[in-house]
Amino acid sequence: KLLDESGVQSNPDSRSGVKTKPPHPQKTCGVCLESFHTSKPPALGCGHQFCQRCWKQHIEFAVKDGMSQGIPCMEQKCNLLCHFDFVRQFYTLPQDPSLEAAYNAHLFRISVSSHYQLRFCPGVDCTYVIYGETPKPRKVQCTGCKTTFCFDCGTPPHIPTNCETIKKWLTKCADDSETANYISANTKDDKLPSTQSLIRETKNTFIPDFCWMCMGDWKNHGNSYYECSRYKENPLIASTNSQHQAREALKKYLFYFQRWENHNRSLHLEAQARSQIQQQIEEKVNSNQGTWIDWQYLLRAGELLAKCRYTLQYTYPHVYYAESGPEKTLFEYQQAQLEVEIEGLAWKLEHVGDYQRGDVENQMDVSEKRRQTLLARFVTA
């Protein structure tokens, strides 16, 4: 009691300006409400002192909740955050390896994700960190798990569509695709059951050529001017009522969504086809029709087809959100050109027996050139 009193008395002496602190002041911790004796209770720069045990608990719970950098002081309305050295004293003395590990893991995660040149690989269970010289949207591949992704936003590569647009598009697809599925399930297929079954049944016999995309006669498409990838907007739409406009908007979305989905599906189917190509090559080599190296172009064609199709798939969100004007018209033209070449390449690859190597190689070259032309504007040096 005497010590206590003397502690109070020996508070800062205003006259001499000399601050003398009592050797062991008794304080009440504002968190556990118990008094504690210590000459130097832990506190941040704000000076809010709490007992050792409460600080440690506070930090433990915060780390458990996934915090490392943002652990605040325990005082109300105090915005000071616990810095590394401050936290460190609670897991070094006494040693607490689990707290240390958890804290360091969070700290590492934060440091990487806030660094502008570093990205975590989005691959499943991949722990690699990707370093990029300049942070911009571009395709990168993880050396560990071979996942490719956009360096800027971490989603699968999406050139020529930009990061914001692809995000909008994917959200829209996630929200609306059920509607889309419903409509496509209840409209197109119902209208054309005969054609669908015809295609399935007469796979190896002659069927009249038609466009898979618009179901129109292929004769009208030819090589001259392929336009199935372009959505023709109704010019009178602004003057009609809101119901028509809503229907038109849905139609436009479904038009692009269908093409997006079609290419996505084709990509999967052609991935299976590529493994068949591998088998075909082995058969051919075994039956003395050329050497292994002679048939490698088929594999290359398969890979190129996948690459082009992927690009083409990601052109649709771009066009969906693009504003009409000469730029969009040009893009749609180039897109149509690429579409024609890709379908040509796919056809030739499916009917390998009917085409010469030169034909296929030529088609590959044209396709790749068309792809490059289409993307030229979007690739930043």
């Binding site: 504002g30 968190v31 556990c32 409400l33 118990e34 809010h48 709490f50 045990r53 409460c54 608990q57 506070h58 719970f61 915060a62 605040p72 002081c73 325990m74 005082e75 109300q76 309305k77 105090c78």
Partner: protein
């Protein structure tokens, strides 16, 4: 429950008993585990809740006081930041603004302050918040009537409200449902009957 939580609750209860006799707030244990408490606040003067006794349930998480207690109103109340159906509260210090140095006493005092100064721009109950902003007199009338019915607030009950409530209950609806419908429709009998249920 960690030892800090239990000892702290014990201390807090002791402090509240000794310090807060004049502040119109009360907290008591509900069981022996210190994880569920019952609180009471009196509606502050100068508000529609004046004199009403509002009961609260306070759930103490295991990580208390490093995480906030979960507080909700047991007594039904008409307030933009409190759900008129579930009693859930929207208050910053019960969410992200919680600090370990805050106590149950400060929480209850903050709730009292919330009753005096609502924040309709950060609502918990959208219907109440809209009424608060667009039809303040209807809001005050409703909040007062609710406090009188549910929280035993003193004063003469509004004749119009009593009459309309009687009309609807006589049609066979429960009192709470009738009152909710009338209140949500700013005491328009026709609108309330259209939207009841």
């Amino acid at each position: 429950m960690c030892s800090i939580a239990a000892t702290r609750i014990q201390r807090e209860l002791k402090d509240i008993k000794s310090e807060c006799s004049g502040q119109n707030i009360k907290i008591e244990l509900h069981n022996d585990q210190f994880d569920l408490l019952k609180g009471e606040i009196v509606g502050p003067p100068g508000t529609p809740y004046q004199g009403g006794i509002f009961k609260l349930s306070i759930k103490i998480p295991e990580t208390y006081p490093f995480n906030p207690p979960k507080v909700s109103f047991d007594t039904k109340i008409w307030h933009p930041n409190i759900s008129s159906v579930t009693g859930a509260i929207c208050l910053d210090i019960l969410k992200d603004q919680w600090a370990a140095a805050l106590t149950l006493r400060t929480v209850l005092l903050s709730l009292q302050a919330l009753l005096s100064a609502a924040e309709p721009d950060d609502p918990q109950d959208a219907v109440v918040a809209r009424q608060y902003k667009e039809n303040r007199s209807a809001f005050i009338k409703t909040a007062k009537f609710w406090a009188q019915i549910y929280a035993n607030a003193p004063g003469q009950r509004d004749g119009d409200c009593v009459e309309k409530l009687k009309k609807v209950t006589e049609m066979g609806f429960y009192r709470d449902i009738s009152l909710q419908a009338l209140s949500s429709n700013s005491w328009s009998l026709a609108d309330a009957l259209d939207n009841i249920g």
